[in-house]
Symmetry: C2
DNA sequence: AGGGAGGGTGAGCAAGCGCTTAGCGTTCTC
DNA sequence: GAGAACGCTAAGCGCTTGCTCACCCTCCCT
């Protein structure tokens, strides 16, 4: 069901993971981690979902944690790419904020299993992997903050607390991964549109500079 | 550090749990679950934090899951109490929404360890316990939705999608438990004030009826 | 003083965990 | 067509897990 959306975006998930068996294992791990959590997932479960014996996992990955790290890294790269593309894109601050929130939320909804692992299993990473990922997250924060700062400077936005509002905007988007269900009534596009509107209200977006 | 805030609110956490040893175990479990997650926490760790032998846990609780259930139940009761108190309180819709978000967020920040367990370990509950808790959550949702509906009816709010906005407001507040750190720069009160303002903007709160 | 109840411990069981190793079949190389 | 390389499996090792059990200590009641 994600594949239609992905094809439309020209985005084929996990295509960067080779060989095929390694990708199947990784996709199985994403499903298992999202469903039961990293610690509650066994390597036997992952291998089983991929249609392999438990030992097959260790041909392609040194440890279970390496699997999580790969997932987290790829997911964070994608999330950061979405945000920086919007932040550095064309249009006024309001248009870029709309695009950022809309696409970021859409990704979290459409790929909510992946996003759940990416956003909620950070603490399960080994310390050195964790700090690598945290650096990526700081870049995401910076991208959103940049849009807000520019909007305030141009007079489009009314934001008393840029740092706090940045935090809130990202938090709002990220939490979509927790509650979104494919069985629910809303499509990723609808949630993206709703959230973009809510965020523009949060920053007090006005039509254009008014000095 | 929570205790000053709690005393000010006349709220002493876990006072309903007796005897003393059972409370100590429960508090230890909250810390451990919040820090490492339910599945990654061992019963030996919980007992150790409470200064007891591993077997002592099973005098007061039948299983590790019963501990989680007790924590989740007490936490959800408190959260629901906060929201319904605000929703049924005095004042116009904007004042009640402000109070609801402010106190709900303040609780999530001040008790972020408890809140983290309450909000993010739902899936670790046994099915029958899970559905009991889900029912409480639906009541929380209803309380917020009530405020929004009344605000729209009175002309105070401009909300095109009440159900979606309710979801977003709760989501925003709940996610505070994920990112809030006592070591951070913001106090629970400050975050509560910031979020109350952001939410009032989200619902397009206007001074008063304007027909 | 004696007895029972409740809170606690040390040792340990069965099961399941992450991960390893010896070996098998297939494919590619020269 | 021999032999290395690769992808994979069956079996299992050492360890940790949630939980149990036999026993002990300290009260309190009579």
């Amino acid at each position: 069901m994600d594949s239609a959306q992905d094809a439309a975006e020209g985005y084929r998930p996990w295509s960067e993971v080779t060989p095929d068996a390694a990708r199947r294992l990784l996709v199985a791990a994403v499903d298992a981690f999202a469903e039961r959590g990293y610690h509650a997932t066994t390597t036997r479960d992952i291998a089983g979902r991929a249609g392999m014996s438990p030992a097959a996992l260790y041909i392609h990955y040194k440890t279970k944690e390496e699997l999580l790290h790969r997932i987290s890294r790829i997911g964070h790269d994608k999330a950061l790419d979405i945000l920086t593309t919007a932040a550095d894109g064309p249009g006024c601050a309001a248009e870029r904020l709309d695009a950022a929130v809309r696409s970021f939320v859409r990704w979290h909804a459409a790929h909510h299993t992946t996003a759940r692992v990416v956003q909620y299993e950070l603490d399960a990473l080994a310390p050195e992997h964790r700090s690598e990922i945290v650096a990526l997250r700081r870049q995401s924060d910076a991208a959103v903050r940049r849009i807000l700062t520019e909007g305030v400077a141009s007079g489009e936005f009314d934001v008393p607390d840029v740092a706090g509002t940045t935090l809130a905007v990202l938090s709002l988007c990220i939490d979509v991964a927790r509650w979104f269900s494919a069985a629910g009534r809303r499509t990723p596009d609808e949630v993206g549109a709703l959230y973009a509107d809510l965020v523009l209200r949060m920053v007090g977006a006005r039509p254009r500079p008014q000095k």
